[in-house]
Structure formats: C-alpha cells, structure tokens
Amino acid sequence: MTGLAATVEPAVTGIGVHAPTGVTVADYWRNTLAGRSAIDRITRFDPSPYTATLAGEIRDFDPSPLSGRLLPQTDISTRHALVSSDAALRDAGITPDDRDDFELGVVTASTSGGFEFGQKELQKLWAQGSRHVSGYQSFAWFYAVNTGQLAIRHGARGPSSVVVADQAGSLDAVGKARRLVRAGTPLVLTGGFDSVLSPWGWLATLAAGNVSTSTDPKRAYQPFADTAEGFVPGEGGALTVLEHPDRAHDRGARVYAHISGYASGFDPRPGSPRPPALARIIRAALADARVGPGEIGVVFADAAGVREQDDHEIAALDTVFGAHRVPVTAPKTGTGRLFAGGGALDIAAAALTLDSRTIPPTPGLEHYPCPTRLDLVREPRELTTPAALVLARGGRGFTSAVVLRGAR
C-alpha cells in the first residue's frame, strides 16, 4: 500500500467525454485548446417560441454502439453516458477479463434525469391515455438511471450510487468515488450527464431566470465580464475511471492525474450576513489535498455568467489566492453549462491539462473586457504548477471543489 487508506489519491486512468465540442477525448481536447465554441441556435426543436434560443448541442452523436434493446428505454443523456463509459474504460485499458465484477463501482450525478424521454411519455399520457405510456418510463426519466444502466452494461457489481446536487453534483460524485476507492473498491467509473434540450426541459430551465437571452453566440455567455447576462445551457458530460494508484501502477497504466482534494458545502440562507460558501470550500479542498494556494497552477471556474455570482467567485478566489494570483479558465464558455455534466467535463479537462501541461482558454473572452478582475486564460498557456482546482456551484447554494495533481 502507498500509505494510509485515508490519504490514497485515486488515479485518473481513463476519460470518456460527450461534449458539444467533441464526442471523443481527442476531438474535445483539440477543439478546447483551439478555443472553439459550439454554442449556436438550437436545432433539436424549434426554439422560436422561447426567450432563449442558444445552446451547446451535441450534433455528431452516434448511438450505433448501443444495442437496439437500449434505444426504447433510454433518454439521450443516458445514451451519452453509455457511449462515454465504453470510451472511458477502453481509454483506461480495462476489459471485463482483467477485473472482477465486484472491483468496479459506478457513481454518477444528474440534475434533471431524462427530460426528453419523460416529455414524450407525458405527451402520450395526455394525448392517448395512460396505457400508452412506456413501461420504461418507470426508470428512463429518473436521475439515478445512468448509474444503473452503466452498472448493467459493464457488469459492475461494486458499490455504486447517485448524487443529486444540481450543477455541483459531479464533483460530489468524484468525492464519493474517492471514498469508495479508499474503502477498497479499486475501480470506480464516475461522472455526470444532462440534457435539457427538449421543449419541456427548456421551459423548466428558463424558469430559473438566469439563462442568457442573447441571440449572438459569441456574446451570449460571458462570465466575469461587465457584459455578463446569464449562461447558455449545453448537453453532455464526461466520465472518468478512478483507480487505486497501486493497481494503476502495478499494471503500468497511463495516469492523467490524481484526485487529491475534495470539499463540499452549502451557502448560508438568503439574507444571511454570512458570506457564500465558496472561499471556505476552496480552502477545505486545498487543506484536504495538503497543498497551499501557491501550489495551484490553474482554476477551472464555475463561471456562472450571472453578475452577482461571478462577483462572489472572484471575491472567493481573491480571498484564498490573492488578487490576480492564479490563472483562471472556463472552457465551458464553448460548450455552455452542462448541469451535472459540467463539473465532470471540467474534471476531464483538468486531467488533460495536467497531462499535457497546457491550460485551455476561455472561448469568447479573447477580448475579456475586464482584465483587472481576474487572470483569465484567453489563449493556451503552459501549466507551470502541476495542480488544478475545479469549482462547481448549483442553484440555491450547492458548492463543491476538487483538487487534481499531476501524475508523479
């Protein structure tokens, strides 16, 4: 053993992504480093009746790796998860032959479950009657479904669970997965996926009031800018294979990064004089990783795109790191916010950053109008300190942070 179980830092040995900017790690990373954006007018349905019309859609999804038995029982977000899980395990070089079923666990996060699937069945309910509703509605809409479907697909009988913590959920899933690895499950598939791109999902999302109504894809999602006017939703997410470092070492696996620190908390109630949770959670995650602020080479920001929340994030970073002291990036401006998928995709991006020693830029903010507020990464930059902090916040106060360290 490399030491006490409580200090084991799981290795990221496999990555699978399904993002608007790429459905393979190679495409996603190339487009992300190039600062490309996939934000565009919605094509999945006619967005013209709605106040917001832009999103990050996955347009080159190929469901053909999935059995025809799976298609009648899966929402698009579950299909993204299933195909990504194949890619993540393949990337890790893990086959069913070289593991016991009980060695593999699954922990996923979801914000909304299968919106599009649920909408179609509700339409049948009201248009044709209850007997026309698919029996698969019993689980296909449910935000726990991805953990179940992934476990079935890969014969994963290790401890598995689901985290629902809005947009912070997939960082909490990483925290849970790390606990499982420390408790003796050597492999955990973890991440998150969402898609709100159906009329019902879209309407529910717009109701929160923080989605950008801009029709200009280049300006719609500009976190930290004076011009910020909300965020653009996107669909998809990512999965990573977390593996006990001894197991990864013994089989000579490629290690992208290690999960070193994690913390999670919640904002005080509205109107409370206490500050938002973010600074406290960042400090807790750094302490958990046993690193100081000066040892963090890049922050993957939550980047709400809503002025007050952006101000809180800048204040928290200033409090912990000192003003302008740490490079901050938000590649999610090129994908939109993926809800539970967003934190998972940022974990993947952070692992790829540590592996390639290159920080990806923040698309659309090449001409960041407020350069004094943050050291925002606007073009690819060399990573000089091999540790990354990933932040995610959800509605009403969910706040989580993960620290990753480079492979040693």
């Binding site: 025809g68 038995r69 049948k124 007997r131 026309h132 698919s134 698969y136």
Partner: protein, 103 residues
C-alpha cells in the same frame, strides 16, 4: 389452442421489436415460437410492454400474473388467443377509446 390463432408469432415479433427494440446479437428471424423471451434478449419489463401493446391493439386485458408466467413466445400467444377466444377483453377494450391504435 385453436388451429388458426388470432395473433401470430410474426405479429408478436413486430410489436416486440417496436416497443422493446432488438438485440443485434440475437437472430429474431425464423420460427421463434418455442424460444423463451429470455433467450431472445427480452426481460420481464419488455414482456410487460409487449402485453400492454397487445392489450391496446386487441382490446383485451391480460392478467399480469399470467403474463409473468409466460416463458416462451408460445406461452404468451396461447394466453392472448385464449383470452381473445373467451371474449374476456370486452370491458377493457370498451373502456379505452384508443383501443386498436398503437402508440
């Protein structure tokens, strides 16, 4: 079992493929009458989906307990055709304005 069953294996296969999909690694062509649903890649929920659609199409009501006992395609067809022959489905059919139509 009547000599000319009202519902055939082919009709059942078509409904099954549409509501529950098809496992490409399993050959559903040919005579599947004596194959079990499990062998054909269909779990209990798929059989319940099938039964729901057959009920709507033929205006009958199949007992859930009988449906779960149907191991093979033949078992299921016998259940459907016996129920049809008994005219047991009149109430169920009359209560659903959409009976006969498929989702």
């Amino acid at each position: 079992m009547s000599a000319n069953p009202a519902v055939t294996t082919d009709q059942l296969r078509e409904v099954l493929q549409r509501v529950a999909g098809e496992d490409e690694t399993i050959d559903l062509s040919g005579d599947i009458t004596d194959r079990s649903f499990e062998d054909l890649g269909y779990d209990s929920l798929a059989v319940l989906e099938l039964s729901n659609q057959i009920e709507i199409r033929y205006g009958i009501k199949l007992l859930d307990s009988s449906v779960v006992d149907a191991v093979t395609v033949r078992d299921f067809l016998e259940l459907v055709n016996t129920t049809l022959a008994e005219g047991a489905g009149q109430d169920a059919g009359a209560s659903d304005p959409s009976s006969g139509a498929l989702a």
